[in-house]
Symmetry: C2
Subunit: 418 residues, 2 copies
């Protein structure tokens, strides 16, 4: 837990309270702070007995501790990047640190595993700076092409130089983490993938549980919508003569949330920029994100369809605004592995007792979603105070972090032995 907050020196934002942990984090994937955290990760895991480090073409880093037999390692993976918000000190970071702590416990107790164990730091899980979440684990799993991922460009509003947003590949090179290994599950196979993560939702806290055994999660699709209108004078242009791209966008934002709600799904817009951005000029162009989620892929498709129909009508009715959609990512609902889940349940029962864990599903996407398509995998959740995440106020107690790490190690050792 101390090491968790130790690495938060790289990217910590201004304090929001008096306590030493009361800062958020802004460590955007492949920025300078990310490079420092990566270096810490390699140094620390080497000191804790990892004899091999594989860095792949997407910067994914596998720190491998040998077992009695060779073979695909059992992995504990998550990510060290954060939201820009500032985001919190736990989302992703906890999972990597818990893996490192597991290595420490194994070293201190001279634990020998049947097969190698590894800790993985996956690149750009957040999809904030480079708008594709669970990015580099998706490349590893063959769900996203390497070249496609390399070409993803920064969101301009988060770019160091908004006039020339950089690509993933440029930034991998710049910070020195464009590795030599192929980013491919066949080249760097994993025996299984376990991930400890904060819940990011309110369920565990509400139910008074310490551990969530994660059975699966939501499917989600990300889109970029571009709406084209006509720049015109706000004072001299009657409503009837307007093609106001922002009016169209506003109506689409309200409508899309409602449509997803009708299907018991979620739809959100987190990115929006407009042009030209002058008080007395009707916006001629709006670019915005759409994030549609539901447990069931088919329902995500149905929501998309419903929004597309209405959105076309809205754009048309706003003076004939144009509307184009680009699908940025499509993440399927994951299927987690029964044996992995059983290992987590057994480990959790041992750590906190049967009545302190519960099964649940993930609202957020995770690297384990991608990993689970290529190896047995599952996740462990610990409570998020107030269900708050992607916010500097994100908080999980020291005790809960420690319990999570203990359950993670227990699950890995059980799985290794099974």
């Amino acid at each position: 837990h101390d090491s968790l907050h130790h690495t938060c020196q790289w990217g910590a934002t201004a304090p929001f309270g008096a306590g030493p942990l009361e800062t958020g984090m802004r460590r955007l994937s492949l920025d300078d702070n990310d490079a420092k955290a990566r270096q810490w990760f390699v140094d620390e895991t080497r000191a804790l007995g990892c004899t091999e480090h594989i860095v792949d073409e997407l910067g994914n880093t596998f720190a491998i501790r040998p077992g009695r037999h060779s073979g695909p390692p059992t992995a504990m993976g998550s990510h060290l990047d954060t939201q820009p918000g500032p985001g919190g000190r736990y989302d992703g970071i906890l999972g990597v640190h818990a893996g490192v702590e597991a290595l420490r416990v194994m070293k201190e107790n001279n634990v020998e595993t049947h097969y190698p164990v590894c800790v993985v730091n996956w690149t750009n899980e957040e999809g904030a700076r480079f708008p594709y979440s669970v990015m580099a684990s998706s490349v590893w799993a063959g769900l996203l092409g390497k070249e496609e991922a390399w070409a993803i460009r920064e969101v301009p509003s988060l770019a160091t130089d908004p006039s020339s947003p950089k690509t993933v590949k440029q930034e991998l090179k710049r910070i020195g983490w464009l590795g030599p290994a192929k980013c491919d599950y066949r080249e760097v196979p994993l025996g299984a993938h376990f991930e400890l993560h904060i819940e990011q939702g309110p369920v565990l806290e509400r139910e008074g549980k310490k551990i969530g055994v994660v059975l699966g999660g939501q499917a989600y699709r990300w889109f970029t919508l571009e709406i084209g209108g006509q720049e015109a004078h706000t004072g001299a242009t009657p409503y009837a003569n307007r093609a106001d791209a922002l009016q169209a966008a506003a109506r689409i934002i309200v409508m899309s949330k409602a449509k997803a709600g009708e299907h018991q799904g979620l739809c959100s817009t987190g990115v929006l920029s407009l042009q030209p951005g002058s008080t007395n000029t009707i916006p001629g162009k709006v670019v915005m994100s759409l994030d549609i989620r539901h447990q069931d892929e088919a329902v995500v498709g149905a929501i998309e369809e419903a929004i597309r129909n209405e959105a076309d009508a809205i754009a048309e009715s706003e003076g004939g605004c144009t509307l184009s959609w680009r699908l940025d990512s499509d993440s399927k609902a994951p299927k987690f592995d029964a044996a992995c889940i059983q290992a987590v349940k057994d480990s959790a029962t041992e750590a906190v007792g049967r009545d302190k864990w519960m099964e649940l599903r993930s609202g957020a996407g995770h690297d384990t979603f991608a990993a689970s398509t290529r190896c047995p995998a599952t996740m462990i959740f610990v409570p998020s105070k107030g269900g708050i995440s992607h916010n500097e106020k994100e908080y999980t107690s020291k005790e809960d972090c420690a319990i999570g790490a203990q359950v993670l190690l227990g699950a890995v050792l059980r799985y290794d032995a099974h």
Copy 2:
């Protein structure tokens, strides 16, 4: 007309067509291109017989041509700054160039006026980069404090360095146009103020007229609204737990347009930015502009009131979002002067005949609105193709520009003689 497009070399944007005039303009107030245009203005007017140039503390520049008697000059004023859009090549620029052409005609014909004549280039009429329209003429008229104007900061999205937006005073200094004269109608009095401008609306073209005799214009108020919500995960946060600042903003944008429409007024949002700007984080903050217009100040107030009531309810209903309003500017409906209007009518009748001009009102605000509070004043409009303005496609034919300049000079000479 050639000189009009001559100065468009400073700030011309990428061509949208094959013709030499088919580029827009992006000459933001007090940027480097503005400095070049200002220098041209002084050089040109000096060569055309202006023996005195007054530059005031806001960068307003008065190029004065002596008359037979001393006394407050009759002014022909407008502005050389443009919208960022790119904006057009005529809005404002035409009025200054027409003044310069009037000087040329007077010089070539050895015209002697009773009183001095001057051409004025007013600073930051557009209110785009520094969000206060008709800014420096308002300071001259005592409608806005000098210190207040100096402190106005760039809209971040239009700033050269968005991380440290500059003030009006910083930029006046940087480009060397922070003049020594007091910006005050009592220090630099004008005998009258005439302004030739493109209509920026569709009326003259539709009615087949060449000249608009402008009787007055709309009142308008500009506001900055800040909406505060809570950053949260788009996948893990149920609707019921959200305080989504962008949903609140979107509903306010749609509602405010409708409310103004109910009062036969206009309401528009041209600037909007949000934080943190990540696809999977609910926006925790939105900052946006509101521009409310109507002929009648009282109705502008009524529209504001109606929007405020609804907006509070919307913010509250979006998970208790906070909402704050800041009034940025308040421009009254102007009263133009009967003698000035008569001079324009007589000049227009001479130039194009009685059936080719008409009376109308201005949709946009202009420097003459401010000037008219301190001296007799009026405006002359020429047709805008398709009513399009604040757009690179803004267009007024060479012939119509020339007619406008002729009517302007005729009105000034008539007024000088009256």
